[in-house]
């Protein structure tokens, strides 16, 4: 697979095309940052307003599942970074293995998250009638818990779809390893990872210090 096969229309050089893919993704991630920033600002406002209710509510989240998932996700980012570097270096088998590992760890994260959600539902931690905690403001904490982790999980699903597509394309040799898509997918994956690194202390460690 030569570089010319990966060159697409408006570009005159592959280097510029790679720059564009990465640059475009960085701009998109700027947008994503603002997306989460909106919810995190609201979280910060309510945490400042109802500090005690928030710390009490945060103690109800499952620190075991949360910590396990943090470890899984950080490892998956390592695999993704290795995959992107391997693709850039043209190492086909290494790329395929690392992409596969990334997908496996991503699925493991979602599975653990599913177990956690099931436990949360059993403990009546869904806001609304029959909520486990008496303090109504604790419901706001769990509103953010469900919303933020849900939106994060949705990002994980999209990331898994992208990585799986790349894996299949690379495996069938339909996408050259020189394609900037591997690096771009890596950037997105790391971003989703970083979001979790912000969510983990806000949702699991608050009130446990």
């Amino acid at each position: 697979m030569s570089g010319a096969a990966a060159l697409r229309k408006p570009y005159r050089s592959l280097r510029r095309q790679r720059e564009a893919a990465e640059f475009g993704l960085w701009v998109f991630l700027g947008s994503e940052v603002m997306f989460f920033a909106g919810a995190l600002t609201a979280y910060a406002v309510y945490r400042a307003l109802w500090a005690e209710a928030f710390t009490a509510a945060a103690r109800e989240t499952s620190i075991f599942y949360g910590t396990l998932n943090t470890a899984i996700l950080l490892t998956s980012s390592l695999a993704m970074a290795a995959a992107a570097e391997a693709a850039r270096a043209g190492l086909r088998r290494m790329t395929l293995r690392c992409l596969g590992l990334t997908i496996a760890l991503g699925l493991a994260f979602l599975a653990v998250k599913g177990l956690e959600y099931r436990e949360d539902i059993q403990k009546h931690l869904v806001p609304g009638n029959g909520f486990a905690l008496a303090e109504p403001k604790a419901q706001i904490f769990f509103a953010f818990y469900w919303l933020l982790t849900g939106v994060h999980a949705l990002h994980m699903v999209i990331g898994l779809g992208v990585v799986a597509t790349l894996l299949v394309q690379a495996w069938r040799r339909r996408r050259p390893l020189a394609s900037p898509a591997f690096e771009a997918a890596g950037l997105y994956w790391h971003f989703v990872d970083i979001v979790w690194i912000v969510l983990y202390p806000l949702l699991y460690l608050a009130g446990r210090a």
């Binding site: 570009y11 564009a20 700027g30 600002t41 609304g128 706001i140 509103a143």
Partner: protein, 564 residues
């Protein structure tokens, strides 16, 4: 007379070489195109539909408001009409109009690129927009929304009985289209400029689209999140803004206006770019203070993020916050004033030609100035408290968005129509429409300043009889305005089939888009362009405009004494 001979001298034969319109004529060649010029036309068709829909809602309101009684629409129907008008006009017409029609078409041409940085993403963003549009139309067919375009809580989450979820979903999805387009534009400007086209040689239209895209990328996701919060609260009963469970409705307003005030600049910044192109071309002048025009655009984009609180002077914000936001709102007026003064200075000693596009541009400058100055009224807290939620506010933002952005859209379409279609529109009809739009606009919206200042509240359809005269004036003006909007659709459509063939550069304008044929070939340029000079090179930089060579400037008020 020489004009006429020049017109006849142009042979009216189809161009020999293939252009982007003739390269593939099947439906699939349009619906699966990745050519930015074709995507721009797809957007034009879609956005025109929404302009009609939003306009229809406005017509219903203007007819209803002719009499002080509610005789045409019920209370509920009136609420739904103005909400639909607001939602459609803001998110499905004004925000996408200039960036997605003119920006999509012109950005690669103006910087000498073959296409946008991500051509397939560009097509995808159109499809996302269409899905959002279908959701918006579904909202209408399912009964409409009655919250106003602002979706204020707890009205939208707990009390409104319209299709809030569908409307929120429509706007949410439209946001993805906006973000995709703006990421594309930013990457294009950064990475695909022609050799020699340095940042400070970019046409101001490119700068304006670039700054708009940055605002879109950073503001739209906040709206997406706040709509998601509304959606979650209304659909699943998850408390975010519910005061009964400790939620704060004012927080919603902060988040909403954090997006929606920058959105005002999303709507008006592209017009600044259009007007800069028109004024320079039809005054045959370099733009006055190019660098400051660029700084002003970027300044507006930045400070526009810091003024959202001026929408909330009466919402229970602290007085300190009110004063800070008031001050910042005055600060953001400075770069807008710089732009108006620089356009005016560009006209000074120019060889002004009153072509239709120029009439739109001059109308824009006047209307935008009125809109901007009344914005200062609203930025000062005591005046704002008096006119909050009155027609004064309605008049103010229509001066910016309709008098400003829509005038610029029509002016831009008139200017670039020969480039887009390869046909000339009938110039006299276009001048008539431009003048009619200016006066129709004035008759429609100026009375609203007066009745608003007298106390006529917005969003009311049954009102005190003393305001009727102003409403009748506004409704009568709206008829003129409607004609002025419909007329171009008629003669533009006519020109597609019967219009004179356009030359590559019918206005004698500078700018790379005029260096290629009209309409451009599929890959935009026959040979990759190289840029050797700055924009608006209508006369040698230090020599002044050509008019100086012909007659010396005489100050008004009689001849002055000259040294012999």
């Amino acid at each position: 007379m020489s004009d006429v001979t020049a017109e006849r001298a142009i042979p009216d034969t189809p161009p020999a070489e293939e252009n982007y319109l003739t390269a593939g004529t099947s439906l699939a060649s349009w619906l699966l195109t990745t050519d930015h010029k074709r995507v721009a036309l797809l957007y034009m068709a879609t956005i025109t539909v929404f302009f009609f829909l939003g306009g229809a809602a406005a017509v219903m309101m203007r007819i209803e408001l002719v009499t002080p009684q509610g005789d045409l629409l019920s209370d509920d129907a009136y609420n739904r009409a103005f909400t639909f008008h607001g939602v459609v006009m803001v998110w499905f017409f004004l925000i996408p109009s200039i960036p997605n029609i003119l920006g999509n078409f012109l950005l690669p041409l103006m910087i000498g690129a073959k296409d946008l940085a991500f051509p397939r993403l560009n097509l995808l963003s159109w499809y996302i927009f269409v899905i959002a549009g279908i959701l918006a139309i579904y909202t209408l067919l399912a009964g409409g929304v009655d919250t106003g375009w602002t979706f204020y809580t707890p009205l939208s989450t707990a009390f409104a009985n319209g299709q809030v979820l569908a409307a929120a979903a429509a706007v949410f999805v439209a946001g993805f289209s906006t973000i995709a387009t703006s990421v594309n534009f930013i990457a294009t400007v950064h990475l695909l400029r022609a050799p020699g086209l340095t940042w400070l040689r970019l046409p101001l239209f490119v700068w304006a689209i670039y700054a708009t895209s940055i605002v879109m990328v950073l503001a739209t996701p906040v709206l997406a999140m706040v709509l998601l919060l509304i959606f979650a609260e209304r659909a699943f009963g998850i408390p975010i803004f519910d005061p009964l469970r400790g939620g704060d409705p004012i927080l919603f307003q902060h988040l909403f206006w954090f997006y929606s005030h920058p959105a005002v600049y999303i709507m008006i910044l592209p017009s600044f770019g259009v007007i800069s192109e028109l004024v320079t071309c039809f005054a045959r002048r370099r733009v006055f203070g190019y660098n400051f025009m660029v700084y002003a655009i970027l300044w507006i984009a930045l400070v526009g993020f810091l003024v959202w609180g001026h929408h909330m002077f009466v919402s229970g914000q602290s007085m300190l916050a009110n004063l800070v936001f008031s001050f910042l709102s005055f600060v953001v007026a400075v770069p807008s004033a710089i732009k108006v003064f620089n356009w005016t200075s560009t006209l000074y000693r120019g060889q002004i030609v009153f072509d239709a596009a120029m009439i739109y541009a001059l109308g824009f400058i006047g209307l935008f100035t009125i809109g901007g100055l009344t914005g200062l009224f609203l930025a000062s807290v005591p005046v704002d408290v008096h006119v909050t939620d009155t027609y004064f506010v309605v008049a103010h933002f229509h001066y910016i968005m309709v008098g400003g952005a829509v005038s610029a859209l029509y002016g831009g379409l008139t200017f670039w129509w020969p480039k887009i279609t390869g046909r000339m529109h009938p110039e006299s009809w276009a001048r008539f429409a431009a003048i009619l739009m200016f006066f129709g606009f004035g008759f429609t919206f100026f009375p609203m300043f007066i009745m608003g200042f007298l106390g006529m509240p917005r969003r009311y359809h049954i009102y005190a009889p003393e305001y009727q005269i102003w409403h009748v004036l506004a409704s009568a003006g709206a008829v003129l305005l409607a004609v002025a909007y419909l007329l171009p659709m008629g003669y533009f459509g006519w020109s597609l089939f019967r219009g004179r063939r356009a030359t590559a550069n019918p206005w004698g304008a500078t700018g790379l888009e005029w260096q290629t044929s009209s309409p451009p070939p599929k890959e935009n340029f026959f040979a990759p362009p190289v840029v050797l000079q700055g924009p608006y090179n209508y006369h040698p930089e230090h020599a002044g405009p050509p008019s100086l060579e012909r007659e010396p400037h005489e100050p008004q008020g009689g001849p002055t004494e000259r040294a012999p």
